[in-house]
Amino acid sequence: MPITEDGDVVRVRQLARNYAQQVALSLVDQTKLVTATSELARNTLIYGGGGVAHIEIVADGRRRGVRASFRDEGPGIPDVSLALADGWSSGKGLGLGLSGARRLVDEFDLDTEVGRGTSVTVVKWKR
């Protein structure tokens, strides 16, 4: 689904919640996943200038989980380790979005190129 305005962030959260319930994540894990997707969707909107979110159910053997990917064609992140550091912010937020989201999920994958855009994929597995 596209992320081009404020309301899309809410829709991403609702979609993530829906899938999290389908794979029966615990309430705490649902909340963590939905919070992480909210942070990432907002990043896509504000820093990436909009983009696309893709949320799906994934399986690894008998284990099931939810994967959420966010892709934008914005300016990219010049210094990834800095962007992932707690408290660092380019000025519009608290600097917790990226680093905080990473702590809330089981898998976190960041791919970014200056001038080309950023793609972030996270997975939360059912325990």
Partner: protein, 136 residues
């Protein structure tokens, strides 16, 4: 964009968030509250988040901002009713909400505001001696 209603009970403004907050609604609420505190002279603000399923960094920052704004109008802010899953997630996210007063539920939040109000202004007037009574 949906707006969050602000109710006045005695000298306290009650904000009960019942919608899935989008960022514009958060910003509108901050502005509406500042306006309302200044026009009503309320001494306290209660933000009830018992129906809120997630608090991300943007919404969390709103609590701190509202607390700072209300302080400028000599009013106290209490956030009440946080769900356990939300609390666990907030801590892991790294949001400490320093400076934001919290209480388990609305009743305790009202009590805190009354005590704080009395400490700062002396015994409160009849109108807000027991704001909860107005509800009953």
């Amino acid at each position: 964009m949906e707006r969050v209603p602000i109710l006045k009970i005695g000298g306290v403004l009650l904000v009960s968030i019942q919608i899935d907050l989008q960022d514009q609604s958060v910003l509108a609420l901050q502005e509406d509250l500042a306006e309302k505190i200044s026009t009503t002279g309320a001494h306290g603000v209660v933000i009830d988040i018992s129906a809120v399923e997630i608090v991300d960094s943007f919404i969390g920052r709103m609590f701190a901002t509202i607390a700072s704004i209300s302080q400028l109008f000599d009013a106290d802010t209490v956030v009440v009713g946080m769900r356990p899953a939300v609390a666990i997630t907030l801590v892991e996210l790294g949001l400490t909400l320093g400076g934001v007063r919290t209480a388990l539920d609305l009743e305790r939040g009202m009590k805190i505001l009354r005590v704080l109000g009395e400490q700062r202004r002396g015994p409160s007037s009849d109108e807000d001696a027991d704001p909860l009574r107005a509800l009953l």
